[in-house]
């Protein structure tokens, strides 16, 4: 495994300039998490409407390039989508990281798939898996919060 595959341009870009960072207006759901081993933190904010669409979402957090990029890519991918899409892509993403599976969801553009797949290099760095998955797990907890 080459280090370059982990620190790809897409990841470095999202890590340096994370999209949707901050607290979005009128959020309806939120959840936070931290990694007690390293102190990384993430707080996800979602604005859900009655049609179960993610009208807006954002995150606050501090952490490494991988964790920031992962949160940023997550928000970019699911913003404006409905909850069933989010749940499917979330499952796909975790399957990709943990079980080296491909992204199966077919409503994504090639660009979006490339972006998400850029995080797959984490598979080879077991100590960093949590960095990549924390935002996704936290977003799911926010969605499942009543």
């Amino acid at each position: 495994m080459e280090l370059k595959e982990l620190y790809q341009e897409i990841i470095l870009d999202h890590g340096k300039n994370p999209r949707n960072k901050g607290k979005c207006d009128g959020f309806t759901n939120d959840a936070k998490a931290h990694n007690p081993l390293c102190g990384d933190k993430v707080h996800m904010y979602l604005k859900l409407n009655k049609d179960k669409e993610i009208e807006d979402l954002s995150f606050e957090g501090e952490g490494c390039a991988i964790s920031l990029a992962s949160a940023s890519i997550l928000t970019e991918t699911v913003k404006g989508k409905n909850l069933s899409f989010f749940k499917k892509i979330n499952e796909d993403f975790l399957n990709m990281i943990k079980n080296k599976k491909k992204i199966t969801i077919n409503s994504l553009s090639e660009d979006q798939i490339t972006t998400i797949t850029s995080l797959s290099g984490v598979q080879e760095f077991p100590m960093r898996v949590k960095c990549a998955t924390m935002a996704w797990h936290t977003c799911l907890s926010a969605v499942e919060k009543k």
Partner: protein
């Protein structure tokens, strides 16, 4: 044995990491083990193993003798007055928990104060927290100053008539500050307050003489002293050994057990419940032999030379911010790198075979105070040399290149 050539005594350095020679700069986390220690463990299991202190057969006698020989060796190494003052534990963490539990049970009540510092590792804060939640004790934190030191005056200021124990680190595992422990102990003695010193970072890098330091308790992490993992020890002054109640209950720590009454063993035995680490204790004697052959003062001065070289080299890189500027620094060098998170640094350095640690190093109180969630830490052991520092410096530059692209 020559310090300049000591790497060859450690088998781990024979391997390559990611195709490159291993540059191990994580000794504050745990040190590597010399061959003599590894060999002693296998020799013990191959020829002497038995449980200690119970049976009367030949192997039990052999094992017990080897086990107790280490206690004598530790007593001598620490210049303790009595062999009963040496209690084996599973780590420095357990050593501190033992004191917090046994001393706390007997002497700490609602409103009593426990004085620690903002530099403490979680293992010298969390055990005291139990007394806060269970007994209503108060924990006071001596503040760290901008250089990463805790001054004697800061401790002095916080001592009150309610202070029941002072528990402080010898050397900070983040800022590297060496605390004025002897002066703190002298001050505490005037006020008749016992002092526990967390010697996790102190013991591997400095001469520790219990008569000179004069503390009541000194906790040691043997695996950071080129010793086996899963082993620590507690020096406890005899008056406390005789006075404090047991920590855990079980086999070995009793005198007589009846349905309506139990009496406990004397001395260190009272605090060593159940089957102890055996091969680990036996092999730790070899770690002390290894240290003695080189001389702890020589080890300390060698490590200091490497540390000072490290400071000099890393300071040349304008993107590096070194954490702390204590009056006297132990063998740790924490830093941050402009715009690159410590985790990313650690992963990228590993690709160059350079092992460091990143995170809060179990010191969240200190990191909150510093206002940074995590730092990267290079820590020095006897086997490090200037070339290791050069490789660290090059690897940091490579890391910066990855992020510039």
């Amino acid at each position: 044995m020559d310090i300049k050539n000591i790497k060859k005594e450690f088998p781990i350095f024979k391997q390559k990491i990611n195709g490159k020679p291993l540059i191990y700069l994580d000794s504050a986390n745990s040190s590597q083990k010399p061959k003599v220690v590894i060999d002693r463990i296998s020799h013990f299991y191959e020829t002497e193993f038995s449980n200690v202190g119970r049976s009367v057969h030949a192997l039990a006698v052999k094992a017990t003798n080897s086990f107790e020989t280490t206690r004598d060796k530790v007593q001598k190494y620490l210049n303790a007055n009595h062999r009963e003052e040496i209690i084996f534990t599973k780590g420095a963490t357990e050593a501190i928990n033992l004191v917090a539990s046994s001393y706390g049970k007997k002497y700490i009540n609602k409103g009593d104060e426990i004085l620690i510092t903002e530099l403490e590792h979680h293992s010298n804060y969390v055990p005291w927290n139990f007394l806060r939640t269970e007994k209503g004790a108060v924990i006071k934190f001596a503040q760290v100053n901008e250089n990463g030191d805790v001054e004697l005056d800061e401790i002095k200021k916080l001592i009150t008539s309610k202070t029941k124990i002072i528990a402080i680190t010898h050397i900070s595992n983040v800022t590297g500050a060496v605390l004025p422990i002897t002066k703190i102990v002298d001050l505490a003695k005037e006020k008749k307050i016992p002092v526990l010193i967390d010697g996790t970072q102190g013991a591997p890098h400095s001469e520790i003489d219990m008569q000179k330091i004069g503390c009541d308790f000194y906790a040691i992490s043997c695996h950071k002293m080129y010793g086996p993992n899963g082993l620590g020890l507690l020096y406890m002054k005899k008056k406390w050994v005789d006075d404090l109640p047991p920590y855990q209950g079980g086999g070995g720590m009793i005198n007589e057990v009846k349905k309506d009454e139990i009496s406990f063993a004397d001395a260190h035995t009272k605090f060593e419940a159940g089957t102890m680490q055996t091969a680990e204790v036996v092999a730790f004697a070899e770690s002390l032999n290894f240290i003695d052959k080189l001389g702890i003062k020589n080890i300390a001065s060698h490590e200091n030379e490497i540390l000072q070289y490290g400071l000099e080299i890393l300071k040349k890189n304008n993107s590096i911010n070194i954490i702390g500027d204590p009056k006297e620094r132990g063998s740790v060098l924490c830093f941050t790198l402009k715009d690159i998170h410590p985790h990313d640094i650690a992963t990228i350095l590993d690709d160059d075979g350079v092992a460091i640690r990143a995170g809060h190093h179990c010191c969240q109180i200190l990191h909150d105070k510093l206002g940074i969630p995590a730092t990267a830490r290079a820590s020095i052991g006897v086997y490090n040399d200037k070339e290791d520092i050069d490789k660290l410096s090059d690897a940091i530059k490579n890391c910066q290149k990855v992020f510039q692209n």
